[in-house]
Amino acid sequence: MPEGLRLLPRSLRARLLLWSATILVLVLSALVLTLRHRLRSSLLEELDAELRSHAEAVAAGLAPMADGRFELDLPGGYLRFFQEGAGETGAPYYAVWSGRGALVVLSDPDIRLERPGQPLSRTREDWREVVVEGPGGALVLVGRGTRGLQDRVQAFSRRALGAAGLALVLVLAGGWLLTTQALAPIHRISRVAAAVSASNLGQRIDPGQMETELGRLAETLNDTFDRLQAAFEQQVRFTTDASHELRTPLSVVANQAELALRRERQPAEYRDALQAILEAARRMRAVVEDLLTLARADAGQLSLRRDPLDLAALVRDTAGLMAGEAKRLGIAIELDLATATLHGDRSRLQELVTNLVANAIRYNREGGRVTLRLRTRGGVAVLDVIDTGIGIPPEEQALVFERFHRVDKARSREAGGSGLGLAISRSIAEAHGGRILLESEPGAGTTFRVELPTG
């Protein structure tokens, strides 16, 4: 929003105070106006009642005479009442009109009065007048100035406005204190949140003193920080592991070359050195390729083709490619494949099956067996890779899919594993909308189960 168009201040406290002040001013004004109106009405009613009783007294004192004139005989108290008030502001007065409309009596000759048509109560400029019917169609009017009444209403309004102003000040001051107190935890939260960074992930908000809602916010934020920290630490561990995985073959390359160059050597020695360097370089390439695959999977960019393919044929071909290595290690591969077709990425699925079969061969016992069983159950292709190896201890089972986790490090490396095979297999299965499970009995063997949706 452009600066000029912003009607409300940015500060939450200022907004809260502005809003509550506005509402309070509206409410108090309405209250003062209503009360003022009520007071005025009730004072007028009182005055009307008084005037009416005077008018009726005057009417009672009227005696019509034969010539159409009237004789007025007022009790002494009334005479005094009208005389005492005379001359003062708001002094009472009376007037009588005959039935024919002629003004018969007027207590104060200075007053100009119109004859009212009927009995009524009315306000005429600064006077209040009540008209009642007298004998013989006469109309009796008694009036009195309302200045005193108005003064009372004014005085009330002033006092009420003063009280309202005080209330406003008190509410604003209280609101200031309350918002300060209420916003303090928010400041604390934002301070901690601002302090949390990659190099300082351990900071947490102390929700101890906070009100329920803010305490919940603090807990939610702390949970988020926990998850961030865990993800960050996993990333750091992964990077450390990856660099370790690369440093070792890198050492072989560098040190082998250094050693070869330290002095003149026989051609056979150079050949051996180059051979060792080549092996180390191949291992680095395998690690780098696997890391790249995983990085793509992490970014959701494991590009998958969705070709219709015959999973049984794919498993059979892959097993065929590994038969040589299995035979060399004295391990039999058995196939028990039912038909299963699905849409998937041939080369990725081949990689998955290769990883699992390679593991099953690598971690088998001498003269052992690898069984590949494929079934389709309720729209899911289930591939079991069963070995007769030493099995995986229960505490390791959850870890084998972790990157660079090795149950038997020496054995894995000897066989050229990068330590990422199972992590990659899991990524491939998940990218196909499937999953990979593991069941293992130490001493008896391990079964890796891949479930992939068909169709």
Binding site: T240, H244, R247, T248, L250, N255, L259, A280, K409, E414
Partner: protein, 219 residues
């Protein structure tokens, strides 16, 4: 000098062993922590090169057990692919004498091993002096009265070992253990032959014989 290299990366272990052997060290290999601890208990090595990431008993645990009270004191150079400060501090706090992060230069590794052995023999200078004989342990050359003396690798190794332990009587068995490999027949008089050669090249007074005990070089 006899070294133990505990390293599970067979490719790297081979390179390091060859480099060390070409520098006149005798090197035993152990592929895991268990074997390393066993060998360290059997032989009094002049130094141990220890990789931290080992299968089974890891390097930290090996270090801890090597430094148990009553264990034979031996300088340990830790080799690791982990360069985090906490790892380094942990290794040093467990009693490692020095630290090298992979990948490292062979020359640096060799220099550190030599320095480690000198320090543990309480001879921090790279030049050792025995009478009028000066030994440059870096260039691996020997001078007598300012003139260079040509020694074979084995002769040099024996002289350096005796000079590092000058003032001590060094037994024949100890010399076999530290200088000569298993290929040599322990019951042969190979030590006497080398001592004879050294006396011929450096003068008869450099090495004393303590009959029934061993040899002595005076400080």
């Amino acid at each position: 000098m006899r070294l133990l290299l505990i390293e599970d990366e067979i490719g790297l272990a081979r390179v390091l062993r060859q480099a060390l052997e070409e520098e006149g060290f005798r090197v035993d290999l152990a592929a895991d922590g268990e074997e390393g601890l066993f060998r360290a208990g059997e032989v009094g090595y002049d130094a141990i090169l220890l990789d931290l990431m080992l299968p089974g008993v890891d390097g930290f645990e090996v270090l801890k057990r090597l430094r148990e009270p009553g264990a034979r004191p031996v300088p340990v150079l830790v080799l690791t692919a982990r360069d985090g400060v906490p790892d380094r501090v942990r290794g040093l706090n467990l009693g490692a004498d020095d630290y090298l992060v992979k990948p490292f230069d062979l020359e640096e590794m060799l220099a550190r091993v030599r320095a480690l052995i000198r320090r543990s023999a309480d001879r921090p200078s790279p030049r050792l002096r025995v009478g009028d004989v000066t030994i440059d342990t870096v260039a691996r050359t020997v001078q007598r009265g300012g003139a260079g003396v040509d020694l074979t690798a084995k002769e040099y190794a024996l002289l350096e070992y005796l000079a590092l332990h000058a003032g001590e009587v060094v037994t024949r068995t100890r010399i076999y253990e530290h200088i000569y490999g298993e290929e040599e027949d322990t019951f042969s008089n190979v030590v006497d032959v080398y001592v004879g050669n050294l006396r011929r090249k450096l003068g008869a007074d450099v090495i004393e014989t303590r009959r029934g005990h061993g040899y002595l070089v005076r400080a």
